[in-house]
Symmetry: C2
Subunit: 281 residues, 2 copies
Amino acid sequence: MTLNGDWVTEISEQHGAAYSLQLGQKVHSETTPFQTIEIYETKTFGNLMLIDGFMMVSTRENFLYHEMMSHPALFTHPNPKNVLVIGGGDCGTLKEVLRHSSVTSALQVEIDERVTRVAEIYFPELCESNNDPRASFYFGDGIAWVKEAPAESLDIIIVDSTDPIGPAEGLFSAPFYRDCFKALRPDGILVQQSESPLYHLDLIKSMHGEMRKADFSKTKTLHFPQMIYPSGWWSATMASKSVELTAFRSEDAKQKPFATRYYNAGIHQGALALPEFMKGL
Amino acid sequence: MTLNGDWVTEISEQHGAAYSLQLGQKVHSETTPFQTIEIYETKTFGNLMLIDGFMMVSTRENFLYHEMMSHPALFTHPNPKNVLVIGGGDCGTLKEVLRHSSVTSALQVEIDERVTRVAEIYFPELCESNNDPRASFYFGDGIAWVKEAPAESLDIIIVDSTDPIGPAEGLFSAPFYRDCFKALRPDGILVQQSESPLYHLDLIKSMHGEMRKADFSKTKTLHFPQMIYPSGWWSATMASKSVELTAFRSEDAKQKPFATRYYNAGIHQGALALPEFMKGL
């Protein structure tokens, strides 16, 4: 079959695979000092944000990613109060973080303010907690922010970034992880999106190594479906100074006072179970 | 981006989404009385079988599907001896079934013998157990075969079919499930591929209903990644006459004497944990 009409296609060059969504109207396009942001309506995925042509977030399936980037870490930490989100300009991760009543402050450090301003218009449901008094925003370089962060001032750092190429590359190596380590309290947890288990196993392995180099004593990858990202299967990797990452507050997760669409205690446990081919991470 | 050069694209028309693989040579093409079978070399997915233009199986990722269609059911049954595979012409499910030493007979009933003959050439690793003395093959209609099957003669029936349109449609409703029920022993289990959790929730719900109508007392869906199928996320649904489907022989699964690439006891448990939006099945 061939793609007639208007489709956007993201090619995973190295893997000879591609994913396409059928488009309606292009409703927004701008080039910021950092990147080109486009918003399209799609046939069944709601609105779609592209950055430099890569699929970032759609209305229909972002719940998988945002829930899995936040709730596993927050239900693993014994009592998360102060949370930092690096990247995450669409505000979906921030929204999930703020569902936890223990959280007293959540700061989003996104390099490109325009991503957030555009998300407020086209993904209002992801931005519905932006006026929460516990939320704050800083638009600037996350790597620099963490380097200057007060020592032991944070409980959770969530790195919700683009792929490890270009500006995000520095987010995937030991010097950045050392700064995160310093900024986290003794029971602090770092969690970072870590690409596709099928396509990027070498990167995931490297991340575990770099996190250990930065003195994190425990690391653990979890996996989940994510249709608009390459291979349709995605992962997040957690690093901890001291807290066990294979256990979590499962009773709290079972009785969570907020609704989710993917995450629950069983899904959390299941996401921690690695396929045979990933054993040895 | 646009797909320059040779790609095969499978469009999920209703969902406005498509998945493409970059092709090398077309190495086989034939039209049988049932369908058109094509085999292509791909850039990184090994060989790819298309049936009537739909992606059926690739060398790189079939392990996900074949392991999850077989091992959960076989490790749930207390002592599976006699197994029937309906469809499954590529023989990958049969191969996984035969890894279980308790199995004394495994019959594959595939309507199109050419699928199996072509798989023997282009997917030899999936056919490596075809000469196992416990394996047998019948090329004909699976629905008719089950209707005539001796009562209580089987422990497991695996329905490894194409989508519920055309010839496979009859495999998704109560009359067929009643015949399966009759052919299964009192601790028998039926397992069937049940499409995408994201795209086909209505079908999955309908399958549970039809299975219950056919007197199966327990039904359970499990989910797993599957990049070449629509949405990249797939499911199998089990039905049982009496055996609990949420418990399984986890110690046996932990100590399985054969290698897998995806399946293990943790993955099994995790696959049974349904996302919030699937609760109520």
